[in-house]
Structure formats: structure tokens, C-alpha cells
Symmetry: C2
């Protein structure tokens, strides 16, 4: 029996390891190294530069939480920009809203999309939806070149800022997001984690930048067991809507969207952060 383990260093002193059934595929692109695996417990999973992006077992958590929290806040969202998200899971959740008219997805690395379509049909199968347009560009450049007030919602489904996702954690990027959002627009972004130093530094930096640009800047949390510490965050920044006060609980429930993690009790609860996280977010 092959005893093969994938290991990710969650910190210098912490390792998380998954038993692998088969290393399906490996490719080095101009941007990063992409690997696909199968495992008994997590199903298929893929990594970028050795970091787990999604596993079949728990990708639903991340993709539901990045999508339904802003959608429940404003059910009139029609035009959405997804930056990153090459595996397609975020787009899949968005396509569940018949009211959304246009989804532009900007992924820097076309190979992530193509390989996800091959190896991860459970996330990628809605990338062919007729409302979706794919752009293989740098997200930073895309929002720079984009006309103002084009979108109701921007979802930044990026890697960590230590790799190809770095530009998506800059003030310049957040300012352009603000500009290309309509006057009631919402930005949700991958916001790292409070527990390990390396991630919490990035969490603090991102929040400090965003709160200077958007009148409403909050952070919400969820349990993502295959990410470092299992305690992960999204940022919620908005020009107008408050996600806990303006959310449309009854109307969202009437849509009858079947979810496995998200529900409208979580809509408000997810913004209740532990004191040690709040303290970090308030630091300059």
C-alpha cells in the first residue's frame, strides 16, 4: 500500500497532512505550480504552489460564504465581478440566483480554469453558464481599465498575498474596486485568518487599507477546516448596505436556495468576532 501524504505548513511550527490516494496531475504555469490529487477523505483537491485551494469535502463552505452573505444583503444585485476563483465554485453559487444578469470572472491563469474544468467538475460546471464571461487577465489591471460604476458586487476569490494574489491586497486595487462599484456596491474579499502570525499580519494590513476607502468595512468568519487553523475570514466592504441591518432574511429564504453551510441565522452571526480578532483588526 502506497503511504503518500500531502503536507502543508500552516506555520513554521505546524503541519497539516492529508493522506493521498493518487497525485493526478502537476503543471508549472508562468504564474504558479498547480497540482491535483485524490484522497479517500477529502475527495479531489488541488493546490497552488503547495497550498490547498479547495477540497471536494469542504469547498461548499468557502463558496457559499463568499456569495450568499452579500447576496442576502442586496437581492437586487445584477452585475457581478469575480476576481480569481479559477476553480469556478464562486461562479457556481452566483448562478443559483436567476436575478443575476451578468458575471464577469477575471482569472490571471487560464490553466487553473482549464484544469479545474477537467479535474473538478463539481466546482467548474457552471463556468459555461451563458451569463458568465471569462477574462484571463491580471485582476489589478482589469479594475484599473474598467469604467466606473459597472458592478453591483465584486467578489475577490484570491490566493494569499504572498503569491500571485499579491496585487489584490493593495490600496490601489481596493480604490479601483470602489470606483467600479455602483453607489450601492459591495466588495467581498478573501481576508486571511487571525490565528497564525503570517496570516494575521495580512489580515490586519488588508483591513486597514479597506476601512480607509469604504464607509462600511466589516469582517466575517467561518469554519474552513482545510485552511490554516480552520478559522477563516472574508472582508465585507460597502458603499451603502450594512450586512446585519439591511439584509433581507425573509426574501432570501423565499428563494429556496439549498445550502449546506450558509443560512440566514449565520448572516448576522458570522459578523460576531472574538475579542482577540477585533483587537487585531483595530490595530494600526
Amino acid at each position: 500500500m502506497l503511504d503518500l501524504w500531502f503536507t502543508e505548513k500552516w506555520s513554521e511550527n505546524t503541519r497539516f497532512s492529508i493522506k493521498v490516494k493518487e497525485h493526478l496531475y502537476s503543471e508549472e504555469t508562468p504564474f504558479q505550480k498547480i497540482d491535483f490529487f485524490t484522497s479517500n477523505e477529502y475527495g479531489r483537491f488541488f493546490t497552488l504552489d503547495g497550498m490547498i485551494m479547495i477540497t471536494e469535502k469542504d469547498e461548499f463552505i468557502y463558496h457559499e460564504m463568499i456569495t450568499h452573505v452579500p447576496m442576502c444583503t442586496n437581492l437586487n444585485i445584477k452585475r457581478v465581478l469575480v476576481i480569481g476563483g479559477g476553480d469556478g465554485g464562486t461562479v457556481r453559487e452566483l448562478t443559483r440566483y436567476s436575478t443575476i444578469e451578468k458575471i464577469d470572472m477575471v482569472e490571471i491563469d487560464e490553466r487553473v480554469v482549464r484544469l479545474s474544468q477537467k479535474f473538478l467538475p463539481f466546482t467548474a460546471d457552471k463556468l459555461e453558464d451563458k451569463r458568465v464571461t471569462l477574462y484571463y487577465q491580471d485582476g489589478l489591471k482589469f479594475v484599473e481599465d474598467c469604467p466606473s460604476e459597472m458592478y453591483d458586487l465584486i467578489l475577490v476569490d484570491s490566493t494569499d498575498p504572498i503569491s500571485v494574489g499579491e496585487g489584490l491586497f493593495t490600496t490601489e486595487f481596493y480604490k479601483n474596486c470602489y470606483r467600479v462599484l455602483k453607489n450601492d456596491g459591495i466588495l467581498v474579499n478573501q481576508h486571511e485568518s487571525p490565528y497564525y502570525e503570517r496570516y494575521s499580519q495580512e489580515m490586519k494590513k488588508a483591513h486597514n487599507k479597506i476601512k480607509k476607502i469604504f464607509p462600511i468595512a466589516k469582517v466575517y468568519q467561518f469554519h474552513q477546516p482545510t485552511y490554516a487553523s480552520g478559522h477563516w475570514l472574508f472582508g465585507f466592504a460597502s458603499k451603502k448596505y450594512n450586512p446585519t441591518l439591511d439584509c433581507k432574511i425573509e426574501e432570501w429564504n423565499k428563494l429556496n436556495i439549498q445550502t449546506r453551510y450558509y443560512n440566514t441565522d449565520i448572516q448576522r452571526a458570522t459578523f460576531a468576532l472574538p475579542n482577540y480578532v477585533k483587537t487585531q483588526l483595530e490595530e494600526k
Copy 2:
């Protein structure tokens, strides 16, 4: 340089490893194997039968969440029974309430207490509080022999049911807890985790037993990164009080207890469970 790693199997296919600076002490008692370690990232930590019980880095999360959620629900709690909890962290949090008059702690293994007093002063230092009485007995036997309606609150700070904690997950035990609680009593118990099969089975079994005995039986969640999956649960069972409706938010905040994880926003939010967890808890 010594390259020493402690590894816990979170499931058959998942390993979590911490770099160890020094293996401080090891002892085999009639009940279990106890080990103490130091590490750069987690400070001191200890294991029972190879499972992490607490680390200096994040024990505050577990101990605050087991204590302050029921205390905020009923600020008139005067007599408390702690079952397990040999490291002393739960008692430490209880002693922060001047209104609590009596704390009985029942730990089956005296060596856990004695060694925690030696190696873990940060959790054990309130075991000498004059309100605390220590009993070195089986918790199951203790509640069986205990007169009725003795306590306002029972906190079951146990290991998993696969080891010495097994008796603390039985219907017989929960029924005796009900009996020894006053007519407005609350039971909070270590309730395992929803993510890995082995733990979720125990979570379901415990909840099915408790909800047949107590009129109010809920489950709440928190982020405990050094426990399997980082997604951990406590059960909240009660004869009278609902923790989200009857909680005393303003009064609790007036007590000015400084906490690092718990706050009164979390009091309600912690009970908002993901759909996949609710589904499991509703299964027979």
C-alpha cells in the same frame, strides 16, 4: 537542532503536527498516559493518551466558551459542579465571578491535577481558591451519589468518549445531571465536532440523549484550532433558561470581565450553526 514533532491523527487520513522544543514529562497513570511538552508557537501543551488537551496559545478559547455562555444566561449561579477539567482552566474562569459561592470539581485522575499545578500554572493557579473543593472520583459515580437539586450549573469538561471520558456521554449520566441540577439549572458539556466522522458520530449520539432529558437542548460552536478540524462544540442543556433569549447582555458587560474570545455578541451568534451541522444533530 532537534527536529521533534508531536503528531495527532485527526482522522485516519489527517494528521496535525506541532514542532516540539522539549518533551517535559511523561507518566502512565491507572487511567491514561499524560505528557507535557513545550513548543515555540503554542507554549506549553499537554496530551492525554496522545490527544492534545490544551495549549498555552489557545486554551483561553475553550475555557471562556464553556464558562461565560451559561454564566451570561443566568447571573444568579452560585453553586457549580465541574466534571473533569483537571488542568484547572474552567475553574479559573469560574472564579472570576465573585457571585459564585461554591465550586466542586470532580476529576477522576488526581495526577492530571497535580501535574497541571506543576507544569501549567496559567490554567491551574485558581484551584487553590477557597470556594473550590476537589474530589478525585469518577464523575459518573459522583452524580449518582449526589443529592438532588444541589447545583445551578454543571460543566462537563471531559475527554472524548473513546477514553476515560466514556461514562460522561451516557444517558445515565445526563439523567443524574438533570436530577442534581436545581429547577433552573444548566448543563454545558464538551460536545465533540461535526467535521470528522469519528467525532460527529459522538456528537450526534450525545445530542440525541440530552434532548430526550432536558426541555431546552442546544449546541454552540467555536474556533479551537488545536482540536480536530478547529470546529468544536459545546452542548447547552437547561431546565428553564434559553441562552439566546434569557441572557443578560447588559448586566454581564457591567461585570467588566476581561475576555480574549468571548463577548456578548458571541453569546447569541455562537448558537447559529451551519446547515450541515443542524442536519446531523436532527438525525436519529
